[in-house]
Every structure is written in structure tokens, then in C-alpha cells.
């Protein structure tokens, strides 16, 4: 955890670990687990109140890593791991829902884009680019928790509309409308707080 190895221990270290994991190296897997399992657990816990399910999803994620490590293509290892974990969480939610409910009529199967949020990328980019500024945080605090969790699932977690709907247990149409409303409210809140950087283009 020393600050001096920051340069050579970027995602390069993770990529090497993943290559070793693909060869079946348990030591590399242990190192990868120790580096990433903690924050994955915390991040999953923020999105799922059931600790047993979180544990299950975490384990399945790393079992998938054993299998899929060879498929890692040099992208950020953390982001790659989160993609797996998020999809596993969505799957687990869906399985749980299926087991708990006799027959839930699914909302209309619309062939939406892979990332439902892709319709307004500029707004997301602005949100993410602005995350280091205090007023974006304030603006996010102002919108309702329902809108915020939709925004989190689609923007931060990179889930598709359908996956977000499964994760949150709401219809796809609701995800779309809430995402739209969240963006509008965010834009308005930001415009109120600080009209100069965003107000002009909105």
C-alpha cells in the first residue's frame, strides 16, 4: 500500500495477475482476490440488502473469473470485475424473484439499446466529469432516492435498462422515465446551483 509503487502497479499488475489466473495460478487468484474482493463486497452491499445474496454473488464473481480470465482484454481490471459482479447480481435477483413469485408478467420486451442511458450521453458525461465538484454532490442529494438509484444503476454501474429494471425490481418503462426525470432534475438543480458551466448548453 505504499504510495511509491503507484506507477508500475496500475492495471498492468492486474492484467498480469489475470493472465496468471487464466493459467490456473492460485497464488495470483489470491492476490487478485485480496486486492478487489473487499471493495466489490462493499459495492454489492450498497446495492443489495441481503448479505447472503451478496456473499453468493461475490463468490460466483470470482468463480467466473477463474473461467473467464483468459477473456480479459486489457481493460481496467476493476471495471471488468464489476461488470461481472453486477451481471451476477442482476441474475441472482432475477432468480430470487422467479422463485418468490408464481408468475410475474414482465413489462413489454422493447428492443432498447444495450445501454439505455446511451440516449443522452452528454448528460452522463457531465455528471461523471463533475463528480469531483461539490455542487454535483449537492444536486444529487436533492433528487429523490428513487431517481438516484436508477441513475446509479444505469450511469455508475453501466447496466442496460433491462438489467437495471431487474436489479431494482421495477418495470423497464419506469427505469426509462425515471432516468429521464433524474437527468432533467439534475440539470435543473445544477443550473440553480451554478448556472455558468452547464446552464448554457442545457
Amino acid at each position: 500500500m505504499g504510495g511509491q509503487r503507484e506507477k508500475d502497479d496500475g492495471s498492468g499488475g492486474d492484467a498480469a495477475l489475470l493472465r496468471a489466473v487464466a493459467r490456473g495460478d492460485a497464488t495470483a487468484m489470491a492476490a487478485l482476490y485480496d486486492r478487489h474482493a473487499g471493495w466489490l463486497h462493499a459495492r454489492l452491499t450498497r446495492r443489495c440488502a441481503d448479505p447472503e445474496l451478496v456473499r453468493e454473488v461475490l463468490q460466483e464473481t470470482f468463480v467466473t473469473v477463474w473461467r473467464s480470465a483468459a477473456g480479459h482484454r486489457g481493460q481496467e481490471a476493476g471495471g471488468w470485475l464489476w461488470t461481472i459482479a453486477a451481471r451476477r447480481l442482476v441474475d441472482a435477483r432475477r432468480a430470487q424473484e422467479r422463485a418468490g413469485r408464481v408468475a410475474g408478467p414482465l413489462p413489454e420486451l422493447e428492443s432498447s439499446g444495450r445501454y439505455g442511458s446511451a440516449a443522452a450521453p452528454s448528460a452522463e458525461d457531465r455528471v461523471l466529469a463533475g463528480l469531483e465538484y461539490g455542487d454535483v454532490g449537492t444536486a444529487l442529494d436533492r433528487i429523490s432516492p428513487e431517481l438516484r438509484e436508477v441513475l446509479r444503476a444505469t450511469v455508475v454501474d453501466g447496466l442496460s435498462t433491462r438489467e437495471a429494471a431487474r436489479l431494482l425490481g421495477i418495470p423497464e418503462g419506469t427505469v426509462k422515465s425515471r432516468a429521464r426525470r433524474a437527468r432533467v432534475e439534475l440539470r435543473e438543480a445544477l443550473a440553480q446551483l451554478n448556472p455558468s458551466p452547464l446552464g448554457g448548453t442545457a
Binding site: 473487499g38 463486497h41 473467464s68 481493460q75
Partner: protein, 317 residues
Amino acid sequence: MTHRDSHPWHVPDDQVTRYAEGTLPEPDAWSLEKHVEGCTRCASRVSAAVGGTAAGAVLAAVRAAVLEPAPAAAVAAKPVPGPAVRTPAPEAAVAARPAAGAVGRRPVVSRTARLLWAAGPAVRGAWLPAVLGVAVAAAALSYGAGFPGARALLLAIAPVVPVAGVALSYGPHADPLHEVTAATPGGGLRLALIRTVAVLAVSLPLLTLTGLLLPASGAPAAAAWLLPGLALALASLALASFVGCRAAAGVTGGGWLCAVLTPVAVAPGDAAAPRLAEQLSRCLDGVAAQGAWAAAAVLSATLLAARRPAYDRPLRP
């Protein structure tokens, strides 16, 4: 948020602590989460902090579970779920290819093992011990008790063994999901034949070798039962398309036993063994007898091919 070689910003220590405790407010947590995806150093810091909380025990347990099984076991045990998995699917396909050396080859072994395991409930149930029992009993009878007609007796019983295996391994009684199985593309006659092959692969070598170990004492050669065994197994399968596996096996196996054992039953006690050997010679020895069995096997196979559609529906019990 694309990859950058060096992040100008890193997660402050107080945020790491509060995130690990689960008390960090949403906007700050989002920024931390996005940053950790690309910054190994902060990922390690957050993970270490989470390990120090109550979640540490869970993390240790999952760590043991992830590291304990060999990778190949994890590969074999984990089917890729349906269409919900979008990104990992092609990666899994890549990983499944045996490019990764030893790790990639091992699932093949386990797949074969699973195929053998699925070869028939009978193989792993009562039938295999029964075959072993017949072989051991024949050997024990011959060497232990000095019974001279052991090979003849073994030859008389041997053709029934594969028939019984076939009867036990396919049909509604052998498989609770038989109706579903019969309707699948891999089910039906194909599955029945795979299981028959599995049955024959065990019983043919075992019984023939046992026969070779026994003294001849007038009985036909140890391999003489192979063609009758095949013919009876095929006849059972063909007949099963009409009346079901168990009834078919009863007819063919019972018919054989009647044909071979009837003269013995009417003979006086002492002469039983020679009479059995004599009767078996009549049934098995010589080109004519073996030719007749071969013809019967071909005939049964033809009938079976013609009756193939019957196997696409569930058989009678």
C-alpha cells in the same frame, strides 16, 4: 471515465473508512466506486479497509471457497446462464477453448466422466454389482467348490446379463424424467443405444475374461456367447419398441434361459453339468449356430432401425 496512466486524484482516507463502514453518502460513493475501477492502489486500500470491518469474516470464507477447488472443477461446475449474461459470454467461450494448456484440457475428462455417469442408472446401481457377482460366483464355483460345469453355467447366464442391463437402463422405470428425455433430440433411440453400449462395454470383457479363466470341461469356447449376447440385446431393444424394456428383456432373456436350461431340468441330477454343456454346444458351437446368431443380430438391428420412431415417444413401462 477512460483509462488513465496516472490518476491525479485519489480517494481520501476518511472516504475510504466511511465507504468501508457503509456510511459514505451516495455522490461521494459513486465517485469512489468509479475511481476504484481503474486505480489498483485505491482498490487495495478500500479492500483492506473493508476487510477490517464486519465483512472481513465473509471475505475470508469466500476467499477459501474460491481458492479451494481446482480451477477445472469450477469450470465444470459452472454452466453459463442464459441470455442475461451479455459481456461475459464470449469471454467464457474463449476460456472454454483448450488454449490454456492443462487447465483447458481437464474439463474434457470430467465431461467424459459425466457422460459415463449418465450412461444409465443401471450401470451405477444394481446391475454392475450383479455382473461382478456373476463373474466372481462363476470363478468361486469353479475353483473353490471344484464344480466342473462352471463355464457352461456362465455361458448359459452370460447372454442374459447385457439384456438385463439394457432393460434396467432405459425406460420410464429407470428415469423419472423419461417423458422429457424421450422428447429431446439426444434422447430416444440414441440414448438407449448409448446406454446399451455402456452396458456391453462392461459386461462383454468381464464375462469373457471370466470364461477364459474357467476350465473348459466340454463347454464351448469362452467367446462363443458374444454373438448371442449381441443378438439378444438388439432383439430386446427392438421388442422394447412394442412392449417396453422390461417385458422385452423378459421375453428374450427368459426365452434363452428356457432353451438352454430345459434339457438340464429334465435330466437326472448327476448328468446336469454335461447335459448343459452339450445343449450349449448345440446352441453356440459351429459355423451354422454362430451364423444363425449373426443373422438374428442383423435382423434385430434392421427391425430396430425400422421401429426407431417408437423411441421418440415414451416407452411402455
